[in-house]
Amino acid sequence: MSEFLQFAFSGITVGAVYAMVALGFTIIYNASDVVNFAQGEFVMLGGMSTVFLAAFGLPLPLAALLAILIAALTGVALNKLVIEPARDASVVTLIIITIGASIFLRGIAQVIFDKQFHRLPSFSGDDPIAVLGASLTPQSLWVLGGAAVIVVLLYVFFNRTLFGKSILATSHNRLAAQLVGVNVRFVLMISFALSAAIGAVAGILVTPITLTSYDVGTMLALKGFAAAMLGGMGNPIGAVVGGLLVGLAEALGAGYLSSEYKDAVAFVIILAVLFFLPRGLFGKTGTERV
């Protein structure tokens, strides 16, 4: 039992990070139909910027806030400089452009930061908390709490504020939204900023546990993508559930089956979803427009 609990703790902590990455995918996908493969780079930017700003002597909370800002601005720049100029291109072309952007961001990070691994101190110490024979680091609670806060804030934002509703409206029908006076370009910009900021928060929260370097984004983007696909691309609840499921599947697979295939789990999930459940667990049932 304690063994299962330990695997589960490991799984939901990692899963919460995947969920945050998947949420980032979802927000941009809803606003623009683009799967933004530079999503993992936002996570990296959050972690690395905080590490380097803190190394300059800034207090950690300030460094973290600035890092989120840097990531959000990068998201806006990505939209302005890369996505918008190509907005008449097909969605697939746009997606390929985001892959290029992710390689570019990785290259820049390598030059501006460095190629080493870095770590942040844990926010509330390193003394593990014992729960029924399993142990949990305080930082895991930060990650889980952070993910929960983000989900709640997003829920309130999308359902209780006018601007959030206008984003939703844009995702349902762009033209109609535009006709009733929604500034679609602004919505798109905010979506990129928002999803970059969420990625950065994930990166900052998880760096004390998993360490960070300029190239951590690639794997996270792939896992987050698997999570978003599993949950049903475009569904925020699906993204969260998908993230937790992918994390749990990885941890349980590593614990009970073989750790050799841990990374394979996420990819097997993508393949299985694409073959058997192309719309994911929470995806809308398909309607073809004639």
């Binding site: 014992a130 696909m229 614990g255």
Partner: protein, 385 residues
Amino acid sequence: MFRKRSLMALFAAVAALAVTAGGPGAAWAEIKIGSVLSVTGPASFLGDPEDKTLKMYVDKINAGGGVLGEKLELVIYDDGGDAKKARTFATRLIEEDEVVAMVGGSTTGTTMAMVPLFEEAEIPFISLGGAVVIIDPVKDFVFKTPHTDRMACEKIFEDMKARGISKIGMISGTGGFGKSMRGQCLDVAGGYGIEVVADETYGPKDSDMTPQLTNIKNADGLQAVVNPGFGQGPAIVTRNYAQLGISQPLYQSHGVASKSFIELAGETAEGVRLPAAALLVADKLPDSDPQKKVVTDYKAAFEAKWNQPVSTFGGHAYDGLFLLIEAMKRAGSTDGKAVRDELRKTKDFMGTAGLVNMSAEDHLGLDLSAFRMLEIRKGDWALVE
């Protein structure tokens, strides 16, 4: 349908594009020495100090008049830790750059991918990779400077035996280094009366090893754990080890013998033991130690030039470069076979890794005494004797 298919194709494309390439740096000169290093990617902590060491000493040697009256030219390519790229760059070094010798190959994986090319071209290849497979069986033109993983296992088991430990768990990286050392440790464990009661692995980019360590923790009669691997993996293992409250001693390999490991693992690194070269404890060596001068000189030079702490990996590059240059001087030429023959005759060469005595059967030339058992105490290395 179209979207589904294109997503699948894209997914494959992203997976393939995991790493990006580095570029060459070159200037015209007479003696061309090639190097393929993992300056970026998961093994960057090996490649980066190696790259800096080679550049620094080639400049120094050229400033002092070069070798055999000629200037050295260093051609370095960055393989990003990818064995396939290493092989491509090796071909380029041999066919386009026409180097006379090679000092490089940061990892065992990249080295083994390049070995057949240098063997065929009959160009001396001094590898900086850790595993014993590089020189056992002996290959005509392949040498290496770092201690082998087999020696690391033996040093660890010697220490365990002295502490009365006989049942251990192993958690190994699945990269070339971890895989090889795991095999070597399993191979020599019996000879020291040590039984491996748990055997787990993790991927090179894995960020959480608590599931594997939970399985190890629950193994019957566990007395210690060995973690063969390098990169950030062992740092995460060390942190997870503390998180799970495993109280048995933890042994790391020489693969993490750099200050960045202590930084990444933080306080959880306290009490971790590992075998490593004398370089790490250069200033703690007694003055009578014959190795003291070499290691303190290298350390001072590296730290003054690059303003970052020295690591043993850069030391391996130092050893490789000077082994090669001394052999060239003795041979009086840069001919591949002549240099190879002289490399084999290396006697009493004091490098950062230890005393090197090579022969036709031994292309490494180090013995167990070159390894020191270290323990991490108060965020610093301490000699265990």
